[in-house]
Amino acid sequence: MERKKDFVVRFAGEGGQGMVTAGEGLAQAAAQVGYHAQTFSTFPSQIEGGPTWCQTRIAITPALSAGDDLDVLVAFNHEAYEGHRGEVREGGVIVYNSEEFQLEPDGHSFGMRFEELGKSTGNPRASNMVVLGAIAHLVNWPQSYLQNFVKARFNRGRANDQEIIDSNIKALSLGEEAARASGFNLGELDPPVKPKYTQVMIKGNDVLALGAVAAGVEVFVGYPISPATTILVFMERNLTGPGRFVYQASSEIESINAIVGAGFAGKKAMTSTSGPGLSLMSEGIGMAWMAEIPLVIVDAQRGGPATGLPTKTEQSDFFAALHPAHGDQELPIIAPGTVEECFYAAIAAVNWAERYQGPVILLTDQMLSERAQNIPRPDLGKVVVENRLVYRGNNGYLRYEASTASPMPLPGGPGSYVANASEHDPMGDTTHRPDRHVQMTERRFSKLKLLQDSTYEAKHREAPVAVMPWGGSKGSMEEAYDVLMAQGERVGWYYTMFLHPLPAKLLEELRQKELVLVPELNYLGQFGSYLRSLGVRAESITQYTGLPFKVRDLVNQVTERVRARRGGMVRV
């Protein structure tokens, strides 16, 4: 029997059929026996219906990407079968709902009556468990894996717990029997290497929100928008109690202005949005930059421009994040690349806002927002929380006089001033004097220098060509990098979530490179363009399908470009 180090399963069908529940259930079940799992979900922008799919990868080592090729496709309807069967690897299996359509036996697919088998257990909601039971058989999982998962999930202290557990276990066995009868088998997943550390199974948006709370965010005002909504939902539920405030605003314009008010009043304040909301916030962000108000804006990127692709992934807001407002301004940007990094990026963003006293963009993307993954439980003992300098002297203070960040007076305390979005003199009164505009512009930009000391990853520093992914494309590139190394390519690796300002030492290293390849999900090659503006010989590898990179495509692209270069250059 073939032994496997990972399996990729895609559940595809119509929204509302439980695709995401099934995919996340499989991930949770796998993690509970010591495997690693990662999901990728995508669905249309409607409540029910429309083509939806969720892909789960299970592996014996931490999953870096959702996987290129499918070992199992679960097709809930014919459209899903037609749309996804091309991505099933050779030797893979398609499990389809034979209540919806029939196929002639073709040697790689079999039908099951999902709903009917589910309902036969007496539990009308058990059809997902029928499917999971079939998958368990295909990968030779012991029955106990999913049974234990079912017991853990439905043991909720309710009177009918046992009844629901029994019906779901029955559903698992029905699926298993159907798969066994089909004669298909995909091989055996290597036994799990159980992580020795404590874990959580969590999504990017949830862990980001937790990081913000850990960093001391006390005011959160947001407006629902895919794929950022779940951050607002998390905060509405959890950011409660004295000294805190969370609210669903009437628009993103209200959100940004409210957190400017809260930041001015001394609170650590945050909002979350996606591209369209970021556009609406433009003027308010400019005010925060101008009046020097600490706050954090989460931009969970989706496809753009305008309403664009609300539920697809893209990394096309980099330019908008760097210069979200009119006039001379350039915002700090932190972009996490993994679910785990979402937690630490949120803390770093709040810390940066407090340190330089201005707005910070926390730039994520849809694939990261919705991704469920098992990660080491964040260690709060290692969290460093920064707080702004607060002015505690006498009245008559010149709030904007120093040439860099200076203590901020807070309402109720000494040093009353006008936080001014118009150009101002040191005490905050409006001015039109040329020398003041020069002085204050330079003050605002000089504060960015306080943010250049961050960390970054580097591997094979000696190689003249390097790859440098950013944001949610990190995982696919990391997996591709391992393949490239195994192929014997000599390529360096650089990565940081601190995109602007870049760590000063990283920028120095990048400027020495003959070529820096930047995989990014946008048409313009935005981050590559930014690197070139900083004197780095950067070239982007772009994709703009609304979907993440496949590892294979990155391996090919990097290999081709390195070889093309070798042809034309003396060394590499």
């Binding site: 709370v213 005011v219 400017v260």
Partner: protein, 291 residues
């Protein structure tokens, strides 16, 4: 901020209504400090964009905190300040253009939330700072640089709008009656909820309507502004509606909701149902055991 700053060179035109509004506000803030025992630093002035917003730089005497933001957004800025720090006394100073045109979308939500702030709206029925364009309160047919053939849209009735949208305290004043106006502002600051003091504050340069408001017996002109009689019951919504629709500009407290409960109190009540958890406890909810 101080009025003694040599570098700050913004000036209201001679005779501008905003001078009187400033004096009234200084009285009201002083009164607030006396009555509440809070220091001046606990008052925050949130300024709109326009001639009126410059008041935040022009207040004389002890200085409150201020924020001079962007056009039309005084309400959402105040929302963040007040709900972040409910103990602060938050006062908006803005004009009819800022509050009723670009900022209109923010009135309904704050009125329905009953945000506990005071908005002082200086209405001169014109965009003064940008040199005389029409505003939402400019009358139908009036010629301005942007309505060269006469304004084709009707004039908004701000008091009617506030009542409809659910503001829980509505007063109407005039810049020439400094003490009564200061008194209206004081009542607004003490009102536990969303309070608006709408002030006729004429622009002597682009829309000098002092004579129309106050009347001129020599010319046989009756005043448009009139004092709301003492027997008016502001808690009577129907009576408030009748006052607003009696013609002219009524002066005084138009409407005051009894037992007004502000947003910060409502939030506290809603959160009595919440189980506040630490970050560690929240992480626990995502935890699982490997078996």
């Amino acid at each position: 901020m101080t009025s003694k700053n040599e570098e700050y060179d913004f000036k209201w035109c001679p005779g501008c209504g905003d001078f009187g509004v400033r004096r009234s506000l200084e009285y009201a803030v002083a009164d607030w400090i006396t009555q509440s025992g809070e220091p001046i630093e606990n008052t925050v002035i949130v300024a709109g964009i326009g001639c009126s917003g410059n008041m935040v730089h022009l207040l004389e005497g002890p200085q409150p905190f201020g924020i001079h933001g962007i056009h039309g957004r005084t309400l959402p800025i105040s929302f963040g300040i007040k709900m972040g720090r409910p103990e602060l006394n938050v006062v908006i100073v803005a004009g009819d253009g800022d509050f009723l045109s670009i900022g209109m979308e923010h009135i309904a939500p704050q009125a329905q939330r009953n945000l506990n702030v005071t908005a002082i709206i200086m209405d001169n029925a014109v965009y003064g700072l940008t040199k005389g364009q029409s505003s939402p309160t400019t009358s139908l047919g009036v010629v301005t640089p942007t309505t060269p053939y006469g304004k084709v849209e009707g004039a908004l009735n701000p008091l009617d709008l506030y009542l409809t949208l659910g503001a829980t305290f509505i007063a109407s004043g005039i810049s020439t009656k400094i003490r009564p106006l200061g008194n209206l502002m004081s009542q607004a600051m003490h009102h536990p909820g969303f309070a608006i003091v709408h002030v006729q504050s004429p622009c002597t340069t682009y829309n000098d309507n002092y004579e129309i408001l106050k009347g001129n017996p020599k010319k046989g002109m009756a005043p448009v502004a009139w004092d709301i009689p003492a027997e008016h019951d502001p808690s009577d919504r129907a009576a408030a509606h009748a006052v607003i629709h009696s013609g002219g500009i009524p002066l005084g407290v138009v409407y005051r909701q009894e037992n007004s409960k502000p947003l910060d109190k409502r939030m506290g009540e809603a959160w009595a149902k919440a189980r506040s958890q630490t970050v560690e406890q929240l992480l626990d909810t995502f935890g699982f055991k490997v078996s």
